[in-house]
Symmetry: C2
Subunit: 321 residues, 2 copies
Amino acid sequence: MVNWNSPSSNLTSKCRQAFKQMNNDPLKQRISHYQQRIEKALDQWLPSPLTHPTRLHEAMRYAVLNGGKRIRPILTYATGEALNIPLENLDGIASAVEIIHSYSLVHDDLPAMDDDDLRRGVATCHTAFDEATAILAGDALQALSFYVITHDQKLAVDHSVRLQIIEKLALACGSRGMAGGQAIDLSSVGQTLNVMQLEDMHIHKTGALIRASISLAALAAPNPDANELVSLDHFGKCIGLAFQIHDDILDEISDTETLGKTHGTDRAKNKPTYPSIVGLQVSKQRTQDLYQEAIESLQSLGSRNTEYLHYIAELIVKRNH
Amino acid sequence: MVNWNSPSSNLTSKCRQAFKQMNNDPLKQRISHYQQRIEKALDQWLPSPLTHPTRLHEAMRYAVLNGGKRIRPILTYATGEALNIPLENLDGIASAVEIIHSYSLVHDDLPAMDDDDLRRGVATCHTAFDEATAILAGDALQALSFYVITHDQKLAVDHSVRLQIIEKLALACGSRGMAGGQAIDLSSVGQTLNVMQLEDMHIHKTGALIRASISLAALAAPNPDANELVSLDHFGKCIGLAFQIHDDILDEISDTETLGKTHGTDRAKNKPTYPSIVGLQVSKQRTQDLYQEAIESLQSLGSRNTEYLHYIAELIVKRNH
């Protein structure tokens, strides 16, 4: 089980504190259960460090089994609970999404990209191993995520749905999804973006995979209702964007209040952020509006059990440090 | 149409000359037809350079539409002709395999990997663009290749077969396939390998995708015969390994005969090669044995039209410069 108190990355360090604050919330136990599931599933899908080529396999495991908060798998499982999908059916989708996320962090951390030596308080993959191994580990992890979806026997869907899941995953992490967002992000350093351009970047870089973590699970529902799928996808779109805007806000607050701890923040890297464009108050209002829009989307699921999704949305966007 | 006379990479420069020599061979026209098909298919699958994010899309197109010889798509189409599969049904598979191959070259060329500035006589992707863009272009190309298989409407196979194709492609380029082979290759620099270890590296790094370019096409046959699939896969395994051993031989000959032109050869990079381990004559015999084994595999396809596969095998392993 992941230690919530472990040092964490810039994207999740604030989340950790929110989780700590909510110790008394009974829903936390369920989130913890999701988290234990995904750790076990990831461990099983990743190649053994004892098998050839051992160093590459070690690097792949290092990159994934690193104490991450597993926000995306948690969203996958919570979507499953809303749609009465047995959680075991979703282990593969949750793993695939998290493996894609992990590979993206390995490549983002490379010297030619964000050049980060530390992630979650420990050495980044290229620092612990070497750059070439990190590049290849990322590449092999991406291939693994697609293999997982083709091979997962517990995913109880028709072949056509399995293909849809692979197609959506490929789109979410391709040039018009996550990889495209990272390209826009890198090209935005030192640039002046307007709000529309910044949201476009966020929707691609972070939003696409968060959205996929929900919509892919929804595809695995035994009798999917088209309207429910649209509502859940809209929920994912809203919280994906809210997640990143709120992260921008926290970067700004952290930057202001904890001078000397700016290493790794977007501001320090001269990247445009939501508050730097529209100010803190408008940013907060935008996050609140997106959260509200997300929750309203859930309402159209009627009597479905959406409390876990609701809880995670709240956790993501209402954390105040 | 690709100009066979264009400068080419170390893996394909010798092939170009073999192609030139065989100008009078009537089979060459068919290979040229395959080559025209794949250029058109790749152009259609790649994102438009006019669409957002334009720079990333430009880099992806630059990496793929670069005058490559398209050995792997040629093998895909030739397998199709042997199994009476309409070529148009194979455009997607041929594209996916070549897109994977192209992304692997982009990442292999990076400074942290083989550190090559030139490929086929022009600037490598990270030199023409920048390292970050090259990493992301490779990442996005891998995602694109899986998208192609899910989305290709001309691929006339059941959903279950389409899933098998994706699974095999993911395995071929993952940690136990191409990416694993590249990891072994990098770790072998300056090391002493035995023949078994070297063949293991070759089978992974180059062999896995060459083999897949044949076996994936075979899966698209309307009424696949299990024995034929096994024979074709064995053909692919043999010529994949022969391709790389022969390449080692050509590197050695080139290195010996054309002193001063060693830049980019395995010897110059202190990488173990087949001739450096067992000598030139044993290497040549091994290539010849593998070629023979490959051709014998084709014989079990009886009256099938295997002349194109035979021709390509000959082209790959009998070129003498």
